[in-house]
Assembly symmetry: C2
Homo-oligomer: 325 residues x 2
Amino acid sequence: MTRAWAAGLDMGGTNIRCAAVSASGDVLLMEHGPSHASRQAAAVAENIAAQLTHLLDTARRRGLGSPRAIGVAVPGPLNVYSGTVMQAPHVGAWRGYSLRRKLEALIGRMVVVENDANAWALGECWRGAARGRRDVVLLTLGTGVGGGLIVGGKLVHGRSGMAGELGHVTVDPDGPRCDCGSNGCLESYASASGLRGLVEQRLGLSPGAPLPAQIIDSGGNFSVRGLSAQARRGDKLALEAFATAGYYLGIAIASFLNIFNPELVVIGGGVAGAIPYMRKTMMTQVRERAFTAIASQAKIVRAALGPRGGVVGAAYAALHPPTRS
Amino acid sequence: MTRAWAAGLDMGGTNIRCAAVSASGDVLLMEHGPSHASRQAAAVAENIAAQLTHLLDTARRRGLGSPRAIGVAVPGPLNVYSGTVMQAPHVGAWRGYSLRRKLEALIGRMVVVENDANAWALGECWRGAARGRRDVVLLTLGTGVGGGLIVGGKLVHGRSGMAGELGHVTVDPDGPRCDCGSNGCLESYASASGLRGLVEQRLGLSPGAPLPAQIIDSGGNFSVRGLSAQARRGDKLALEAFATAGYYLGIAIASFLNIFNPELVVIGGGVAGAIPYMRKTMMTQVRERAFTAIASQAKIVRAALGPRGGVVGAAYAALHPPTRS
């Protein structure tokens, strides 16, 4: 008898990760591929289906048999019941796109579609930093800021699965424009795009103008890793940008503490590596703004699953499909 | 056979409401009394116990028999499992006060203690504006701002029952001082004390200085009703204060929408009567800041239970005592 497992796919802006995950959360097999996120809506979905089909073939060849369920994690708010992606500006220009129906037609099997940060939160509760915790706020600090909420041991979906957009709470009503159309969102500060904006503002550059060589990567794009290296060297610009991001991150976390009274705030994503440079301003705001009785019960920790978070969580979502509560 | 019912008590800063509530949510009997909130911690609790005992006596005399359960709603964050009130500056100077234990000793029966806004949220879901709804954000705009969260049909308690402090999310990091010790909280604007501060600021008055006669009540205190009457007459000061409160209320509601994807936002409390003067700025911020796909699914409505919300909800909490989920 073959082992029970689920397929989990994590759709990023650049890469796709795709894994066979056992019913107890072990990654049995992992594959990678390009996400071709700038292609048209249907082509992006077809690429996802092809990656899944490839994983299923590999799994079969390795004697794993068929998956019990298939889960796909994608960025952007989506209706988790219908599998419709509402708004994913960076991926396939999806807007009200029936991703679930498309994937099911292509693969010929049921697919569960979940928001990527929600999936990550499920993964961290299953096998990561929040194992066994029942009240958890997860923040993913990447290109943007995502969120996943676990309340009483269950993922919060809200009316249609779009809950948890923690990157889009207002932390400063007069703050910079956000990709979502609002301004002064947490994402306008504590994300790669937010940090880039803070650097541009400090250098007096217009958005998108060329940046100093130390903070761009080999592809010419803004690099949070480069900015962290500058901060490590004591560069004032880098330290100020992280201090500002930490200040607003702390304001948002204080609000989340007062709203949720969680046991744990878990922070993941590429920008989380720079937390040492954000911690001081972040913690000052948490202490000044959250109820002491609440803050003293909550730990703020780094996510443990790293790049595996999305696929493990997508597999969990597939094995425990959302039901209208 | 007597009808099954629960006792629900709502502890306000000035008055106590106390009711016998049937198992289906009908108020069978209601009593009122002073809350003597400025007395010492134990004396405030003894007064609550006396009011409950009086209600139980009246109920017995009227042939209702004994209640199946007793619920008490109090302001301020509390540990709902131990019944310890963490911080209630305006009531009995409670700070880490074991209210539940004290009341149970005085009455000789089990008592469930719940936050007043949480109780109100339960009441609105049971018999009010949110009947049958499963994802609800309740805001109580009174002297301060309270909140109650229903997710998937269940009240959100968080780790120890202190979740839902929606009045203490930051809406402007540079905003005025809040009673909680932070600054720029929603409560600093969209509450009676917040509106008073906005009026003082516009008039250049120091906090607590005498206010114009039109906006004080017979007891010499700031009156939201008086400010509303001024707004109705077209008074610029009043209209501006409400416009500012509405602006920040809208910012907070937009964040709550993006966080919770609720079906309903329910607004109650004395200041809710002034929503007509806040609606324009409030709705502009909601439209500009919340995801359209989320905002279009949510209604913002007035609470339906009014002064009965707390007692009905306290009775509900007593009949469905919180369990660590």
